[in-house]
Subunit: 452 residues, 2 copies
């Protein structure tokens, strides 16, 4: 199917997906005269989730779509009449973001302090975007980051996202998208199939087997016959509703040795996979694949590396970010009329001034460090050439990380889709220093150097 | 504002917010002839999140709204043409759920094994609802449960939900709603204000103070003046952008002793609150309230009980379920044509047969136990009278927990709104045995007895 034919994600306005204080600040800034000062806001994460070695930027594409629908029509203005004055309501009525946005590409690695997104324009037009920007980037980056860890753990084996039931019904669609970006191969979520063109997957649950129960008792074979008749022998039969050995025997008896796959959803998955593989091979079903599911996370996936598993179905741990359900990114005002600004706080480092970042890469492709530096006037230096001289070591290539996303309120050319983002994740993981791919807790895989 | 004037949450169809396997099962069941068997599915949680003593049912109202929009139009059927056959597509085209649903009221307590929702009809019409039902109940119950713990910890003090930026942009709206049900007083989320009529809250962030920076340096007083001029002296001034003592001094200097509140977002909140209270009182601003925010969870809230805090702003921990971002509820087929069915599994207890539940309550209002029993023919015994005789002890009142939500596909009368759910949470918490309100990890506060 062609995802471009699908209904837009944000058929309505996204403008009220916003914290009230963005608009009360707008009101006060309009009244006080500061609303039109030129500002730069930056999105960054002060730290990675506990022990994580890298983060993956997710949601950039969704954000750009949502931004195009950030409009205050009558339906959005009406509930604000009690909160805002006429001047503010009129300003909102005509609102179009007209500034510039640069950002790390979707699928890019990030580390503590990476300036993931740079939003520049008047205070008024930048401040109102804060909540929407953070909601999308924090959610999608959390899922994409978890997915990348799982994808690395799974190696070449297939990963199926099936966590829709464990998260908010719309978050589920975004989670399927972010999982695909992170390296998953398919999703159970039909709306994600429609909206984003992600390959779909899924055949049956225990309910289907249990349905084939009569007064005479359960009839697993009848369930398998019905499924194979409807979906073909290439289907995946769920074999652990009753006795798993009997289930496998019946599955092959019904579907023949050309059965596509069996799924195991309970028990010690490694032990079960070995037994089932031996049984399938003994029955001649040597091409029948084994899909495992049930409370898998990246550690569970990795623990099954030596077992005869062909595909993993992952639900809860993926959609809840594998222990880190939000990426903890913040959106901070860093520059006003060219003057760097920062909150004075002891426990939260905050660096003023609009910034750019390059990554220093060896000729072998291995990342050495990230270098963050103050952007020049007009946010120049698109190729990171100014900073290249500051790299620690000869022979290093400096790759500019902030790419133009929006110019004068309009989408910048060259925007990649989710397949491009997915490819980027896979590429970037090969560039990490090898410690960075360990699942164990540790420090960020790449250090970030902040030039004064 | 009147929430009934707001656009519906599900302006489009909710039908594709569904796992693919629900529809491949439907296809196989239609082809095999089992699709029209009378089935009962039940939603329950096998356990509470680690150490939790109770759960709160959230999302029932949202589910009933979403159910009314579960329709397969052309836009939903088109992407399914590659997956389903003509018979299934035609069945979906005319689909209207025509069965019965009973459920625990929104805001009701639940415990492991509580039959939170009972969905009865043909296999076909019940199975397709699984994903949507679980997405909504798992998300909203996780947030409502976390919110109730926080509300109890806060006692009579005001709780403001401000976590939108830490979760998916639509999950944020549902989280604000669930937080309100759980006992929060207000939300920062404007869409939740519009859609659900929840009181809104929010005034300004550090960005507003930082905005008032010129070549001569920061000017916190200018920011305060602009805010007070626009929003009045009743506003809340954020006083910790620079030096907090100076911030409080400037705030009162600008707004006078009638200043509504100050907000503290960093540092040791208890120590800061004490200092600020003393300073405010010394300045004569004895009525100025203190709002604290910044990485608060139920423990952080409880730790501030003895401090002069008037209101808490809670973000990340609330919208991520305070460590339990999903409620772990499942949707299981329990009965086919009157025959109880259950998966045979060693580690996951599953009890066949459609069930009802009563809660045994002392005359003092204290809950003694929950009793789960097999429903009679036609899901009778609406008052729990059959089970009352099975209660452990004389003088106990049996309260029926499953209430009619849908009858013959149509909403049952007497549906409560979110204010009713919020009131119910507060009532139910007073009925818990007192150990049940402790924040420490422990066993469920109420035991559930399953009659054979």
């Amino acid at each position: 199917m062609n995802p471009s034919s699908a209904p837009a994600e944000h058929a309505g306005s996204t403008a009220l997906l916003t914290d009230m204080y963005e608009l009360t600040m707008l009101r006060a800034a309009l009244a006080g005269g500061a609303a039109h000062r030129r500002c730069a806001f930056e999105v960054f994460a002060r730290r990675l989730p506990d022990g994580r070695r890298y983060g993956i930027v997710g949601g950039t594409g969704r954000l750009l779509d949502a931004l195009a629908h950030f409009r205050f029509g009558d339906a959005e203005l009406e509930p604000l009449r009690g909160v805002l004055d006429t001047r503010t309501l009129e300003w909102l009525e005509g609102f179009r973001f007209s500034g510039d946005i640069d950002g790390y590409q979707e699928g890019e690695l990030y580390f503590p302090g990476s300036p993931i997104l740079s939003v520049r324009g008047t205070f008024a037009e930048c401040v109102v975007l804060e909540t929407l920007v953070l909601s999308i980037l924090n959610h999608d980056s959390a899922i994409a980051s978890a997915a990348a860890r799982m994808a690395h753990a799974a190696g070449p084996r297939t990963l199926i996202e099936m966590g829709s039931r464990r998260t908010h019904e719309q978050a589920a669609v975004a989670a399927a998208r972010a999982a695909y970006v992170g390296g998953f191969d398919a999703t159970s979520n039909l709306e994600a199939v429609r909206r984003h063109g992600i390959p779909g997957a899924g055949t049956s649950a225990h309910a289907f087997t249990l349905l084939h129960t009569t007064g005479d008792g359960p009839d697993e074979s009848a369930a398998f016959r019905a499924q194979v008749a409807a979906l073909g022998t290439g289907t995946t039969l769920l074999v652990d509703t009753y006795d798993i050995t009997e289930g496998v025997r019946r599955a092959v008896a019904v579907a023949g040795t050309g059965l596509g796959a069996v799924r195991i959803d309970s028990g010690d998955l490694g032990e079960m996979a070995r037994q089932v593989r031996t049984q399938l091979d003994g029955l001649g079903a040597t091409g029948t694949k084994i899909v495992v599911s049930g409370d898998l996370d990246e550690y569970g996936i990795a623990a099954l590396r030596a077992e005869p598993v062909d595909a993993y179905g992952v639900g809860t741990s993926l959609v809840t970010g594998a222990g880190a359900p939000t990426a903890g990114m913040v959106y901070k005002l860093v520059e006003v009329d060219g003057v760097p600004v920062a909150k004075r706080s002891t426990d939260k480092p905050s660096r003023g001034g609009a910034k750019r970042a390059v990554r220093a890469v060896r000729p072998t492709g291995t990342i050495v460090e990230e270098v963050v530096y103050r952007a020049g006037a007009g946010f120049s230096d698109p190729d990171g050439l100014d900073a290249a001289g500051a790299l620690a070591g000869p022979g290093l290539h400096a790759e500019q990380l902030l790419r133009p996303l929006v110019r004068g309120g309009a989408p910048a050319p060259g925007r990649g889709g989710i397949d491009g983002a997915r490819t980027l994740v896979a590429e970037r993981l090969t560039g990490l220093p090898w410690e960075g791919l360990r699942l164990t807790h540790g420090l960020p895989a790449v250090t970030t150097r902040f030039l004064p």
